[in-house]
Structures are given as C-alpha cells and as structure tokens.
Point group: D2
Amino acid sequence: MTVKTRKEYIKSLKELKPNIYKFGKLIKDVTTNPATKRVVESHARLYEAAALPKYKDIFETKSHLTGKEIFRWNSLVESEKELIAETVMKRVNYHITGTCTGGVCVGWEAMNVMWAITYDIDKDLGTSYHQRLKKWILSAQDKGITIAGALTDAKGNRTLKASQQQNLDSNLRIVKVEEDGIIIRGAKVMIAGVAASNEIFILSGNKYGESDKDFAVSCVVPRDIKGLMIIEATHPNDLREHEEGFFVPDTGITQAYLYFDDVFVPNERVFMCKEYQYTGTEISSFTDNYRSCIGACVSGQGDVMIGAAVLVARANGIPSKAFKNEIIEMAINNETTYGMGIGAIALGKQHPSGAYFSDSLLAHVNKTLVATLPYETKRICQDIGGGIVETGCFPSFEDFTDHKLGPIIQKNFKAGDASAKTRAKAARLVEWLTLGAGVPGTMHGGGSPGGARMVVKSKIPIEEYVNYARDIMNIKEDVPEPKKVR
Amino acid sequence: MTVKTRKEYIKSLKELKPNIYKFGKLIKDVTTNPATKRVVESHARLYEAAALPKYKDIFETKSHLTGKEIFRWNSLVESEKELIAETVMKRVNYHITGTCTGGVCVGWEAMNVMWAITYDIDKDLGTSYHQRLKKWILSAQDKGITIAGALTDAKGNRTLKASQQQNLDSNLRIVKVEEDGIIIRGAKVMIAGVAASNEIFILSGNKYGESDKDFAVSCVVPRDIKGLMIIEATHPNDLREHEEGFFVPDTGITQAYLYFDDVFVPNERVFMCKEYQYTGTEISSFTDNYRSCIGACVSGQGDVMIGAAVLVARANGIPSKAFKNEIIEMAINNETTYGMGIGAIALGKQHPSGAYFSDSLLAHVNKTLVATLPYETKRICQDIGGGIVETGCFPSFEDFTDHKLGPIIQKNFKAGDASAKTRAKAARLVEWLTLGAGVPGTMHGGGSPGGARMVVKSKIPIEEYVNYARDIMNIKEDVPEPKKVR
Amino acid sequence: MTVKTRKEYIKSLKELKPNIYKFGKLIKDVTTNPATKRVVESHARLYEAAALPKYKDIFETKSHLTGKEIFRWNSLVESEKELIAETVMKRVNYHITGTCTGGVCVGWEAMNVMWAITYDIDKDLGTSYHQRLKKWILSAQDKGITIAGALTDAKGNRTLKASQQQNLDSNLRIVKVEEDGIIIRGAKVMIAGVAASNEIFILSGNKYGESDKDFAVSCVVPRDIKGLMIIEATHPNDLREHEEGFFVPDTGITQAYLYFDDVFVPNERVFMCKEYQYTGTEISSFTDNYRSCIGACVSGQGDVMIGAAVLVARANGIPSKAFKNEIIEMAINNETTYGMGIGAIALGKQHPSGAYFSDSLLAHVNKTLVATLPYETKRICQDIGGGIVETGCFPSFEDFTDHKLGPIIQKNFKAGDASAKTRAKAARLVEWLTLGAGVPGTMHGGGSPGGARMVVKSKIPIEEYVNYARDIMNIKEDVPEPKKVR
Amino acid sequence: MTVKTRKEYIKSLKELKPNIYKFGKLIKDVTTNPATKRVVESHARLYEAAALPKYKDIFETKSHLTGKEIFRWNSLVESEKELIAETVMKRVNYHITGTCTGGVCVGWEAMNVMWAITYDIDKDLGTSYHQRLKKWILSAQDKGITIAGALTDAKGNRTLKASQQQNLDSNLRIVKVEEDGIIIRGAKVMIAGVAASNEIFILSGNKYGESDKDFAVSCVVPRDIKGLMIIEATHPNDLREHEEGFFVPDTGITQAYLYFDDVFVPNERVFMCKEYQYTGTEISSFTDNYRSCIGACVSGQGDVMIGAAVLVARANGIPSKAFKNEIIEMAINNETTYGMGIGAIALGKQHPSGAYFSDSLLAHVNKTLVATLPYETKRICQDIGGGIVETGCFPSFEDFTDHKLGPIIQKNFKAGDASAKTRAKAARLVEWLTLGAGVPGTMHGGGSPGGARMVVKSKIPIEEYVNYARDIMNIKEDVPEPKKVR
C-alpha cells in the first residue's frame, strides 16, 4: 500500500476495520460518515496540494535516511530550517482547511521526539529501539501515511500517581511484556485527527518515577488494531455537520477518546518499554517543539479570520477600511504567536541523534500567548462581523433554502452587492471559526497554559537578575529571601 | 387572561396561533418544541421565582399607576432606585437561567422609552399617544405578560437611507395610515425571546430624517398577529437541544427574524406614526438604559461562569484555590461591567414624564467594556476547565449513556470524588456558557461597540480638556487644530 | 483665625512654626520654598475657585451641624449625593491643578470615618469621643482649614506584629496616657499634602489585636505641633521645581515622612485611645470610600492627559483626529475608574452616625482598575506626544532661553503654527504628568492593589455561584473541594 | 589613537574639543561632568567587559574584512547568527548598565545599512561609495571607536516636505557640494549616546523624492567637528545626577540635539550625496534591523526590573514568591519582545553586499509590542515595589545621610534583614528604571509605533486571506470592497 495521492489516501482509510463510534453508533466508513468525512477531507486536501507545484516545497522534502522525496509530515526534522519549514506548513494547513489537521502533527512530533529518546536509551542501556524506530520511519516515509499522536491520558485523580489510581486504566500502561511484544491497556483522550489517520503514535503522557514505570511506554499502532475502541468526542456545533447544505465547510477536525483493552503491540513497533527515566525528557522535548509550532497554527487560523471578517464586512455593505485598526490588531496577534515560534526555533539546538529542538523558554512563553491572543482575535472577528456572526444569529440552512421562507429571507438578507447566499456563507464561516466546529483545541492541546507558566517560572534566573540589580546600584550586602518569623 | 403564574404563562403561550418556524418547520407549540421550549422554561422560572419570598422584591414592585403589586418587568422605571432594581433583576435572571431572558428586557425598556417620547410628542404636537400607551401599560401590568422588544431592522445596504433601499422591506415601515390604525411592512431581525413572549413592542431602529418618516413607527402587537411570520435564528450548538439527555440545561434563549407582511395595527396600540423628529431621542434613550443594564447581564453570566469553573475544577480533582488569581480576575471583570452600569444609573436623570434615564457617556463606555471583558472571562473559564471544556471535547450524551460504551467512558472519565456524570455535566455547562447555546448576543445586541465608541467620542469635551492643559502650563496662545497644507 | 480666602490660607501657613525638611535643610516658609510652594499653590487655587460662582457648588456645601456654608472638604458626608459630590470635586481638583491635592482628601476621609467609629465606640463603651470630634469638626468648618490625613505607618518588618518590632517606632503608638492627653511616638510615612495643611488627622494604620492595642490611636494635631519632625520625600523630577522658568507648572503635590518624638496631644483632640477592636472597621471604612473616590482622581488627571496629548499633537503639527482611537481609549479608561467609583457609592450605605460609606466590593475592584488603567492612559499619552515627551527629551529651560543657544533651539523646535515655547510647554506638561512631579501615588496610596485583590476574593460568594451552576445543570450531588491525598 | 581599553576610551573622549552644552553651560570634559559622565561610564563598562573571558564572545568577533578580532559594535553583520549575536549583546548591555548604550547601537546599524546601500548605489550609478565606506570601517575596526548614529531630523511642519519648510534647517541637508567634500547644515535631534561617542554616523531621516534630494545625505563625522553644536536634552530626574551620593547608578544614557552650522565633510567620509532614490530602502533597512533588535533592549531592562523588584520586595521584608504571578508576567513580556526579535532575524535575508536584514513584518510587529509590553512590566515592577517606589516617595540622599535626620530616617526605614541603605538603594533603582534617568526612549526611538502599525497594515495580504475564506466556504462570487453610494 502506498498513500501518495488523495485517491490512495481515501482508499487506505476505507480499508481500515471500523472501530470508531460517535452518537452511539459505529462508523462504517470514515470517508463518508458525516461525523468524520470532514476531517478526512482536510487531510485529503494536503495530499492534493502536495502534488501542486505551488505547494510542493511546503509539503514535500528529502528524506535524511534515503534521499528520496517524501511528505514533510513523515520527515525527520534535523535543523532550524526544517523546523521552520514545519511551522510554515502548519500555517498553510490552516489556510487550506481553516482548522487543525491533527493527523500530520502530533504523530510526526512524537516520531521526532522518539528519534532522540531512543538514541539516548540505546546509548545508555544498550537497547536497540533506535533501529526499530528507523525501520518503521522508513516504511512510513515509503508509504506516505498519516499518523495521529496520542499523548494525553485520561489521568483520573490529579492528586494521585498513575500507579495509585483506583482505576489503573486512567493512564495507558504495559500490563504484560511478552517475548515478541507488549500488551497495553488504558485510556488516551482528546486525540486529534484519529479518524483521518492510518496509524497512531503513542507517547507516555507524563514524567514518571520508578513506581510508575509500567506507564512509561512508546509505540505505534495501526488505527484499527485489535482491542482498540475509539469514541469521537463532540465539538462545537458538530451536529450541523450532519445536515445537508452549504453552511458548514467541507473540512473539519475531530478529537477522539481511545480505549486500549489489552492490545498486543509487536516488538518492532515498541520504542520505550518501562524506561521511566526518559519520560521527563520525552515530555519536555515534545512540548518544546509542539509549543513553538502551535503559534503558526493559531496564526494560520487568524489569517483566515481576517479574511472571513473582511468578507462578511463587505457582504454587510461596509468597506473593510472601516475596520483598519481592528485588522491591524488581528494581524499583530497572528504574527506574534508565529514570530515567537520562529524565535524559539532559531534559538533551538540539535540533539546528537540529529533531531532538532526549540528553545524551551521561548516555546513555553509562546504557549501562554497562544492561550490568550487568539481569543482576542476571535473577539475582534465577531466585532467586525456584526450581530449575524456573534452567535450565529440567522436563519438555518433549511429555512434559508425553504421554498416558502427562503425567498423572503434571501430578499431581506441582502445588504450590499454580494448575494444573500454569499453573505450567509461568510457569516457562517465566522461562526464556524469562532464558535463552531472549526475551533481547534489550542489552549489545552499539548498541555495547559498554567503548566507552561510554571515552566517559564522555572527558567527565569532570578538570582542572576537580582545580581544585575545589585551591581548597578553597587549594593554589596547579600539580600536573601526573608524568612517568615511568626 | 391573566399571566401571573408559571401555569398561566405556559397556557397563555399555548393559546397563541402558530407563526414561528425553525429548520423549515412550523412550530405548533412553543412550550414543547425543542427549538423553543428552553426559552419558555427560562421565562417560566421567573414567574415561579416571583412567587417565592426570597425573590419577591426582585421580581415584583408597586405600580406607579395603580399602586398594585405588579411584575417588575411591567413597571415604569422612574428613579435611580428602580433602575438599579432592574439591573439587579437582570443579574439574578442569569443566576437562575444561566442566560438571557429577552422577553423581560427589551420590550420593557421600549415601553419606558416611549413613556417619555409620547409625553414629548403629545406636548409638542397635541397628539394623545401618551394616554394610549398608558392604557396599554395598565393592561399589561394587569395581565402580567411577557413582552419582546423589536428594534433592529434588517437594514439592507448600509450606505443608503431606508427610503433609498432597493428592497424597502429592509426596514420596517408604515405603508398605509388608515382611520382606525396603520399597516406596517418589513423586517425586524435578531429579536430575543420572541418565542417566549405574549406581545412584541416595536421601536424605530434608527434616527430618521423627514425623507424617511414612514420608518418612524412605534407600536405593540400580539406575537401571533395576522401577517407576521417569525423565523427563529440558529445559535451555537442549538441542534444539541433537539437531542434527549441531560447534557444541555433546560433553560435557553432564542433570537428571531420577524417579517411583517402588511400587518394592521389598531390605533390604540400605535405610539409613534411618522414623527421622525423623535427617533433620535428614542434611540439614544433606549441605548442609555439598555447599555447601563447590560453590564448586569454579562456579570450575572460571569458569576455562573465562576461557579461552573470551580465545579469543573473540583470534578477534575483540582481544588479551586489553584485558580485563585483567575477567579479574582473573573470577578473583577464581572463587577466592572456591573459597577459601571450602576454608575451610569446613579448619574442619570428623570424625564418630565417620570421616566428615568442613565447617563449616556458612562452607559456607552460600559458597552465597550461589555464587548471585551466577558470574552476574557470566558477565556479564563476555559483555562480553568481544562481540555474537556475548551471545545466540548468529550463523548456525546448517546455515547456516555450507551449500554456498551457508557460504562467504559464513565469508568475512565471519573477524576476525583465527583461522579463521571457530574463531571460531564459541569464540563457541558462550561461549553454551553462559552461556546454553546447559552452564549447571549451581548456584543452586538442593542447596537455594536463601534457605535458606542463613536458616542463616547462625541461626549468627550476635548477643547475643555485642552484648556485645562493650557491653564496648568499657563499657555496664553490659542492652539487650534493644524490645517493640512499640501 | 479664619482660612476662607487664598490670602488667609497663605497667611495661616506662614504662621506655622517651621518643622519641615527637604534636601537636608529646614524649610522656613512653605509658601515660598521651591520644594513646597507648588503644593501650597495647588490648594490656594481651590480656595480661590470656591469663591467663583462657577465652582461654588463644587467646593462649598451646607454644614449638617450648623446649616452654614462651609468648604466641602470640611463637611460630613452623609448621603450618596454628597459622596458623589466629593468624587466630582476630586476630579475637578485635578482639572484645576493637574495633580493630587492631598490636603483636602485623606484628612477629610479620616474625619468622616471617625464620625462613625467614635459613634460606635461611645455606644459600646460609654466614652465621649463623638462629642469631642464634633467639637473639633465645628471649629474646622468654622475656620475652613486644610487637613492632611496620616494613615500609613513605616511598618518595619512585615512578618512581625507592631508590638514585636525591634524598632517600636516603626508604627505610631501611644507611649503614655496622661490625665489631660496622650503622648504618641513613631513614624507615619508618605503623607500627602502635609506642607499645604494646617492640621494632620491621624488614623491607626492597621487592624490591631489586643497585644497591639497601644497602636490603636486616632487624633488630630496642628502641623507644627511640638515634637513632630517632617521630612518631605522626593518625587519624580522634583529638582526641576528648584529651577527658575516656565517648564514646570506652578502647582504640585508633596508626600512627607512624619516622625513623632513623644508628642503630647490633649484629650479634646483624641478620638481613639487603644480601642483596638475598632481598628478593623476603621481601616475598611476608610478604604471603601477612599477607593471609590480615587477613580475620580485618576480620571481627572486622565482628562488633563487627553488635553495635553491633543495640545502637543497640534503643536507637533498633527491634527488630533489622527489619534481618534487613542483618545477614545484614554476616555474609556478615565470614565471606567470614575464610573466604577460612582457605582460603588450608589450601592453604599448610611451608618447610624449619619456617615455614608461606599460598597466595599465595587470600591476594591475599582482600586485594581486604578492600579492598571491609568498606566495605559499614560502610555497612550506618550504615544500621541511623540519622541519629545517620552523621556522629556528636549533642551532644558536654561538652554531654551539661553541668549546664544535659545534662538537656535527655538528656530528648529517650531513644528506647526504654535510657537516653539508653546510646543515646549505642552511637551513638558506631558512629561510632568507621566514621568514627572505631577505623577500622584495612586497605585499604592491608601494601600496596595494586591491587598485590594484579596478583599475582592473575600467578597466573592463562591459556593453561591457553584450552586447556580449546579442548579442550572440539575446536579444533585454535592461537589466539595478535593482533598489532597498524597 | 586606539580605543581598546577603558583607559584609552576615556582618554579618547577627553581629547575631543568641547562642543556639548547642557543647562546653559559648555561641558569641558564629558568624562567628569555630571551631565555626561554616566553615559561615558556605561560605555566604558562595555570596553571593560570585552576584556573579560566571560563576555569576550559577546563583545568581540572576527572582522569579515581582516579576520582580526574586533569589537562586535564595529563589525559587519552578515548572517542570522551574527544578528542574533547583536541582539544578545544588546540585552547584555542592559544587564551591565541598566539602560541604553546608544553609542554602540545606531551608528553600528547605520554603518551596516550603508554597507548595503552604497553597494546598490555604486552598482547602479558607478559611484565608489562602497570603497570609501569600507576604508572608514577598516579604520573604525582598527581603532575600536564608539559611534553614535543620527537619523531623526527636527522635521518642522509635518504637513510640508523638507524643501517646503519655512526653516530649511529643520532637516539636515547638503548646502554645497565642493570638490573635496560637502557642506551640511541643519538639525538632527534626540540622538542617543553622543556624549560617549567618538564619531557620529549620519543617515537621511526620511524617504525623499527628487525635489528633496538635497536632504539625501549619509556621512560620518568626528563628534567635535567644526561647526557642530550639541545640546544635551533633559531626561527624567536628571538633576539628581548632579547631586553627590549613592542614590543614582553610576551608569546612564543621554540624548542630544545636534545643530550643524555649515559643516564641511570631506569626500572620504561621505556615503550618499543626493541619491534620493535610495533613501526609502535606507530607512526601511534601518528600521527592519533596529526594530527586531530593540526587543532585546527592553527585555534586558525588563530582566533588571525583575531583579530590582525582587530586591526591593526582600528589602521590604516580603519573600518574592508572594509575587510569583507578577514575576512570570514580567518574564513573559520580556521574552516576548526578545523572542519576536529573534523570529524577525531568523526570517531575514542577506543582501548581495553581505549585509543581513531582518524580516520587515515581524520587526514592525515587534515595534508595536515594544511600545506596549514594557509599560506593563514597569507597572508590575512598581506594584511589587510598594509605595516607596511608585513615585520615588522617600527621603532625599541629603536627608538620608544628614547627621541629624539621617539616623532617624534609617532607623525607621529598615523593614527586614537588609539595611536601610540597601532598601533605599533598591527602591531608588526601581524609580530610576521606571520613572527616572534609566528610562530609555524605546517607544519613539527609531520611529513611532503608529508608523510601525502602518507598515504592518501594508504587509498584510488581505485579498489573499479573503481568498482563503472564500475557498473554505466554496464562495465562487467575487466580493469586492463596497463602493460608497451616497
């Protein structure tokens, strides 16, 4: 099987065994079911774009391993230039689809993180994970598959360790190590793009100590592996996707809950098996790159919001220059998260394995910006769009096209030169981007802003800064933290 | 007919003739149809609360006209104290329903505005609108009805006057004045709470000049008046309201598009008929009170957001004190819009008719705050809630209660002491408040923040401020605006 | 002695014995010394204004005690209307002087707080403080004096109680109670307007327990009382005030450090003597009113900043409409702190003594706004003003008027129609307001924003809000705070 | 003359002929006069640091022209890596001096810009500016001099072109071209670090058309060139620098007004002479690099503010963890402007001459951040520091050390373990950084944020964004800007 064209990609998904549910029903064909067909379409458009000269350099690159042309999302990222190319691709993904394309993101990041981690484990412990991973990567590059990434566990009680949970399935774990593979069990949650993926790359979801070593696991599994049950989460306005009509884009994103019920993974697909000492680095390496790149995601969607806001303003009969300041504000927000990501990348470093990682401090600062600025951008987008976009406040598609109601609505809904239909679609796009199925989970995706703030805190060299201040004022006396007396 | 209890209120709505559509279908009974039953329930709860000692003073007051106990939302508001009581009631409405209760808001404001405007018209022109209005108010107070208010027109092309529109129906107008009444025609849009109302109070939607005098109209009509077609707009996640289950509150809000197709309104219900000179004051009086009070609306919902955020944090297994700063920030936002509204009221003035109006500058400043701070509050609410609330990212009600999937989900969804069901409901509430059907249209409702900023601009006495500066620096020279030379 | 006119006021200050130091020197005459003459001028202008019909209602009112016309700053404030009049006066004070006039602020507030506190103490303990205070107030009203207020102690080590301090003088205390009076000792710091005041009203600076009862003291002393040493603090750019020239306004503000070295205060001027139980209410009553009114102070200065920004823009040759958005933003900031203060007042309550106090929650929310919004306003003011205002970056007065350098500077400094001198003065005013001697201490004055946030926290009824959320989602289960397990 | 050590640097400045004035007096020796000795000390510290192993790589690099070790501030910057090294150096400069060191900034930027511009002019017009510049650079590198940069003209009336000004001296211009050089005349203003510089590099201050070609000039002059009169501008609290004592740092910055009165510049120092066509690129190349790097300046000062805030908190007796959130906020602000600058550099490009320039869009977005975030950081710094820092509200150095007053002040000013002197110095540092002589002109330095916003606007590809939106919604219809009809 190769997955090199839209057609092959669609075919590859159709061949997977059904194991995804939504609204209480098993989805037979993810490429046609209204709950999943949009996320498939999003990814299909990337395969399509990769074939166009205009986008070739964005979506394709040369493999470090083979020298062959491969999809960028299957590549090892070994330099600042390549990581910037990744971040550019993520911005373009949003331009093309309007939303998140999780199947060419987290799995790819995970693969690169494990490229470094397996290198370290092997070096320290004499294992052979790195070669296993290399073999799998070669095959993934060769085929051109789409790979979701699963990091977040269900977690359970936040005040207890994984091994202390009443329900041990709250976190994915190795329940048995067999000669030819491992058996894993537990829940990974909120995993983006699963329905559009061929495989799922698994990482440990936390930094674990020895008592939690069973939870230190990394491997990759086919999406339809035996024992895996997938439940698609809801998202804003998702039921609209089940209606006919032209009020929702053909693209979209999904997030899934994964339940592994004693799933067997053969050794050649296992890249970490209880080496808990490496989970801390695994998590931090992942977040460093993920949080530098996510600035491009939200900026790409922000670009579309500028476009959508201008479109609806014009359809409302108002020239966009009336919103000059607002548009500049949106652009500043977009470029800030994007530019900060680029900055984090530029200050990054290459790992001995070849993998390249962003600067941790700037990446985590960017996460805090990603958790605030896009909300401002959405607000401004609704401000420009007017009452019809704020809460999706206009007639439904059924009413808009009803033989009796439709003509009345359309007659009264026309504001400027644009047709009522175009005005309606533009307004629906703003709704979709700011309150609807297009809203990606960028605030908590890959970890919460609160956690990022703690990382920032840990990286501020406070005593060094205090000494700058002392030196400038020529203060000789040592000034330690006061001790609480009473 | 009296509408004094939940039962009578429900009955009164059932008796209205069906003229409301959604999703291409005529709604037979607004009290049971899933598209409208929640907005009815919201208002029914107010009737219910009014009967409780705890809430009596909030929801009832004494009529200035008769001295009898009436619902506050049918009262004339003639003092600072009464307008503060109105703003308090609006905050409580949100506490009880979680969202907007438009049937006890805009119509009430409109009635009070017209109490002043009719007084002025009569005084100037010798008409008798004021007595007509008084008669209708007496009947409304006596019955205890719920009254939507219709202000916003479809508008059409923003660069043309109402009378210049290609489609004259873009703005509601008087097409004929007959001996015993008027015939009106055109579209009023985004009208909140219509499905839960007995009557609809109409105001002119703009300040009109003489050439647009046909558009200067105020009257009140039964919701089911002949010739009126009502189409309910969609709102975020509204299709969820059509499912069974416990993932959506029983309360809600609706906004409707109203098409008047040559509707006859008898004279006793007409309070302005082409007196265009008064439309400017009508609009500004309306926005002055509406925009001072709306701070209470968003603060009331903000209070519920604090509660919901704490609830979901606890259900996530995290003590709320971990979010102390975030909660303070939310509270500051809530109290700021509320306090500014109170400030605007405190600086208000009584009109010779008795009606009391807020200070215009502070009211419009408040509108700009209402268009920004609640967005911050929502963002913080999502920040505290974690990944499950950001995009409603968890299994659907059907999956959650499915006989096969449900037990697995619920087992893995439990995080702390609270049940999985409680955790799910808490998360759904945050979704509903920040991305779902609970989001009210407060940014553009009653006019856009851009317009409010222009009012603020017009009320800044810049030359006076310049003179303070000159006097403080003892600058004798006059410093006028530079003239552009080239 | 009466102090009813500018002339009498100046004379009254001249008659005080010198006890104020700055820059290592004793100030002989506060009305002429460059370190203090500007703060005297500020207050003198209020006496002057009070005599003008235009300002009469602002600065004068009728005494509740005598029915006679008195200065507003000597009055008991017994209603919402009067407290709003106080806040209006404070805004006007800034319009007239450009900065803080501390001699008609804290002492006045203190007097009103003690009007209530002495009422309570007497009622509970059978003392006669209230009558003593009344007598003093009658005399103050009769004379028309200016009264500073001293609240903040030097404090010492923040982790120790007052009585545990190594240096007991860190907080003002009663060292001896004698038959006809008390002897007080210790330091009060950062007291505004002392140099322009006739007397100083002292309050306890903290809520004290029994072990700290010696620190529970309230009294009023002449500024030149025996044993009191006053050191004027520096403030931004204050050395400019010692130069000749027209680059600094004639008005200004000062803040002083007060050292009481066993000062005897006769009983008739003592209003609290060790009744520590009342210090909590004393502090909170003070902050409730002070923090509602301070919104007017910063808005009044913000108004002057708008004027100054427009003035310098014009003098730079740029029409102010180029900064329309910036000016609206400044105005919104100004009106927000002002409006919130009015809101806090409107929700206030009258104490049985007659004294009127603002709503505590809104007042403390306002304090957090006062600690942020004016900084934004200053930033915008510098943005509009351009490079010459950002850091006061233009030639000194000496160079500007130098016989050789001056003509060259003035020739090249002219930008539009306004003279170089006017441009320079306008720029200097912005510097004075944003970086210079005009900057008042509103962030920490009367307590820090951090403390205000804690008050806000304490007043949020979190469980009530949680219950709104539970009721809306029909959650029956109780959801308490999680207990930390491990 | 070589200027390679602190000693040689000081000597080199002493040798310059006096032509700088402040407060109406000619400064004889900039290294000892209180008005200028601090800016000299700032730069001297960099010479000193460059000799330390710890800082060698920061302050020294290899010349592209000779391969020899030179000061970084004399180097050609030809790669991303080198421009990042420049930005790192700027952050370190602030760590060492607490403020701006303008003598190793603008002149250096100007030299690099002209490296590219002269390359272009020569290529197009066959001139030999590039070789001239190279020769001068070689000598500058060899000597190791400090070079101020002069860009901003006095401008005059903003609505007129340079050649239309009534006072032609408002903008620096070529009054005569002679065989062996040019004669220049006019005013350059607000030039940083002149008093600490050996030479001044001049750029055209605007994009000029043909009618203004006389104003298109670039050259470099010794600071004490005949005909140049320099007037030092004031800055916040600068008079404090004229006092003895330890309340002001030994470092500092100055900004000067330069008046060229028919100054002759020999040809070998002239790099542009009326080639107006290149002034646009000159300005934009300058701002691209200047505005990416300035993020490091404000972040470096922000680091010192964190240190100063922690220092004063501790000296106040409060552990810094009480301000954890505030410190994180400060750090986020610092890293955001720094990271954005790095991002702009990483997306930059090399010019055929070798010179490297930042990405224009990100650089100008950064300028808008530099004009806002540091103001927030200052506000937080004052919030943490308490009342004694907000307005520098504590006794003067004279009083603090007075034989009579001093002991009393110091006794009462001690709060925790730190001495009163340390507490005072820490507080004075915050004052200096936020309200005093340490405040650099970063908002308007190198152009105003308003201009930067216009550049951002011009670089947003709005129609491209509109097309993304149209494609996502499958809108075929063209939607142009509405035309205003009435």
